[in-house]
Amino acid sequence: MNWYFRSLGARRIVEFVLLVVFVIFFLGPLLNLLILAVSGKWQYPAALPQSWSLEWWQFVLSQDDVLESISLSFLIATVVTVCSIIVCIPAAYAFARIAFPLSRWFLFSFLLTHAFPKMGLYVSIAVLFYKFGLMNTFLGIVLIHMVNTLMFMTWIPSSAFRSVHRAQEESARDAGAGPLRVFWKITLPMAFPGIMVASIFTFLSSLDEAQGTLLVGIPDFKTMPIIMYSIIADYPNTTGAVFSVILTLPTVILLVAARRFVSADVLAGGFQVK
C-alpha cells in the first residue's frame, strides 16, 4: 500500500501547484488591483503596501463626472438589456420551436456580429449614424451596444427553449391550456435560467463597452469605461485601481446573485446551435 500513498501524495502536490498557478494567473491581476485600491504608499520593491489608505476612494467618489458616469452606465445597460430581451426572446423562441423558411440562415446571420472586427464595424456604424443623425444620441448608444448582445440574447435563450421537453408543453395543451398560457406557465419558466444568463451577459457587456460608445457618444455620453480610459491615462495608478474596483463591483454582485443560474451547460448550449 505504500506506493499508493506516495502516488496519492504526489498527485495532491501536483494538484495543489495547479491550484496555485490557476489562482495567481486568473485572480492575481484582480487581487493586485484590489490591494492597490486600498494602499496609501506602495513603493518598489516592497511586496505589500507600506501604508494603507482610502484617500483615493474619497477623491474618485468626489468627482462629479465619475458619479454621473456610474448612473449613466447603469441606465444604458438597463435599457439595452430590456430592449434586447424584447427583441431577441421572440426570435429565440421561433428558432427553437417553429419551422420557417430560411430559419438556419437567419440563425447563423447573428454570427456576423462576432466575425467582423469590432473597431472596423464601429467605424462603419459611425458613418451610417452620422447620416441618420444618430451620433451623440441615446438611441445611437443603445443600438451600438446591441451589436454585442444580439448573438448571446438570441442563441443562449434559443438553446434553453430547445431543451424544454415538448412532451411537457403538449400535456399542458391536452389539459386544455391555450398556446400563450402554455408559453407563460411551462416554457418560459423552464427556459428561465438561459434567459437569465443571457441577460446578465447583455447587461455586463453593455456596462463594459467602450470603443463604440467612444466613437458614437462623443462628447456627451461618458460611461464608466470611458472615464476609466482617461483615468488610466491621466491619474496615478491608485485612482485607476479604485475605479476598477467600482466598475467590477456590479459584475461580482450580479454573479453572486445569479450563481444558481450560471452553469457551463446553459452557456455552452448557446454556442452550439442545433
Binding site: 491550484l19 490557476f22 492575481g28 454570427l111 451610417l128 476598477s244
Partner: protein, 279 residues
C-alpha cells in the same frame, strides 16, 4: 393558407425585429465597409488597390504575420490548456477541483479594460510579480508588458475560461460508463483521451476554436494597452490608420481582410453545426 404556412409566417414575424436591428447595425455597416475598401485610397478609383498595398507594404505585411502569429499561438495554447483543465475538472473530485470549478468563469465577466489594467500592474515593470519574485530571490524577469508575451498572456486570460466552459460542458456529456469500460480494457490516459474524449468533444472544440480565433484576431483593447509599438496587431494598426492618418479606405480594407479570415472559420463552424442537424 395551410397551418404550417401560418406557423412559418409567425416564425418569420418573430424573427424580423431582431434581424432588422442586425441588418441596421451589422449587415449594412459591413456592406458599407466592403464598398469603402474597394475605393483606392490614393487614386479614388474603384479596384483592389488598397488590398494590393496591404500585402506589399513591408510594415503592413509585418503586422499581418504578427497578428496571425499572435492569434494562432494564443488560440492553440488556450485550447491546450482549456482541454487539460476541462479533463481535470471532469475527472477530479478533490476540493481543489471544486474551487477551480467555482472560480474559473469569473474572468469571462470581468470588463476587458479592468482585466488589462490588472495585467499591466501585475506583470509590468516594477509590478507586483517582480516584487514577489524578488522576495524569493529571483531578480531577473522577462519583458511581458509592451511585448509579444504580454499579448499572448492577455489572450490566454480572456479565452481560457470561455473555452474551458465549453469543453467542460461537452465532457460532462461523456458517459462515465464509456470511460470506465475503456479503463477496464486497459486503456491508458492518452488512449482514453484520443480514442474517446477527443472524438466525443470534437465538435465543441471547433466551436471553441472559432470563437477564440474571432475574438483575438480583431481585438483592440488589450493589444492597444499592452502591445508593442511595432509591429502591431491589425486591430490596433487599423485604428491608427483610421484616426491618425484618416485613411478610411485603407482601414476598411484591413477590416474586410480580417473579416474574410473570420469567415473561413465561420464557414467551418456552420458546417460542423450543420452536420449535427442532419443526424
Amino acid at each position: 393558407m395551410s397551418t404550417s404556412g401560418k406557423r412559418g409566417m409567425l416564425g418569420l414575424a418573430l424573427v424580423i425585429p431582431s434581424f432588422l436591428i442586425l441588418f441596421v447595425v451589422v449587415i449594412l455597416p459591413i456592406l458599407y465597409a466592403v464598398r469603402e475598401s474597394l475605393i483606392d485610397q490614393n487614386s479614388g478609383e474603384f479596384g483592389l488597390g488598397n488590398y494590393i498595398r496591404l500585402f506589399t507594404d513591408p510594415a503592413m505585411r509585418k503586422n499581418i504575420t504578427y497578428t496571425l502569429n499572435v492569434t494562432i499561438v494564443s488560440t492553440l495554447l488556450s485550447l491546450l490548456i482549456s482541454y487539460s483543465m476541462a479533463v481535470y475538472l471532469r475527472f477530479s473530485t478533490s476540493w481543489m477541483a471544486r474551487w477551480i470549478n467555482r472560480l474559473y468563469f469569473v474572468p469571462m465577466f470581468v470588463p476587458g479594460v479592468i482585466a488589462t489594467y490588472g495585467l499591466i500592474t501585475l506583470y509590468g515593470n516594477h509590478g507586483w510579480m517582480v516584487r514577489l519574485l524578488l522576495l524569493l530571490g529571483i531578480d531577473s524577469f522577462p519583458k511581458i508588458i509592451y511585448d509579444y508575451n504580454g499579448l499572448v498572456l492577455a489572450n490566454l486570460w480572456f479565452n481560457i475560461p470561455f473555452a474551458t466552459m465549453l469543453l467542460s460542458s461537452a465532457l460532462a456529456a461523456v458517459p462515465n460508463s464509456v470511460i470506465e469500460s475503456a479503463r477496464d480494457a486497459g486503456a491508458n490516459i492518452w488512449q482514453l483521451f484520443f480514442r474517446f474524449i477527443l472524438p466525443l468533444s470534437y465538435k465543441t472544440m471547433w466551436v471553441a476554436i472559432t470563437f477564440i480565433f474571432m475574438g483575438i484576431i480583431g481585438s483592440f483593447t488589450a493589444p492597444f494597452l499592452i502591445g508593442a509599438n511595432s509591429p502591431q496587431v491589425l486591430g490596433v494598426a487599423m485604428q491608427q490608420v483610421f484616426s491618425n492618418y484618416q485613411e478610411t479606405h485603407t482601414s476598411s480594407a484591413m477590416a474586410v481582410f480580417m473579416f474574410l479570415l473570420c469567415s473561413v472559420m465561420g464557414y467551418f463552424y456552420i458546417r460542423t453545426m450543420g452536420k449535427d442537424a442532419d443526424v
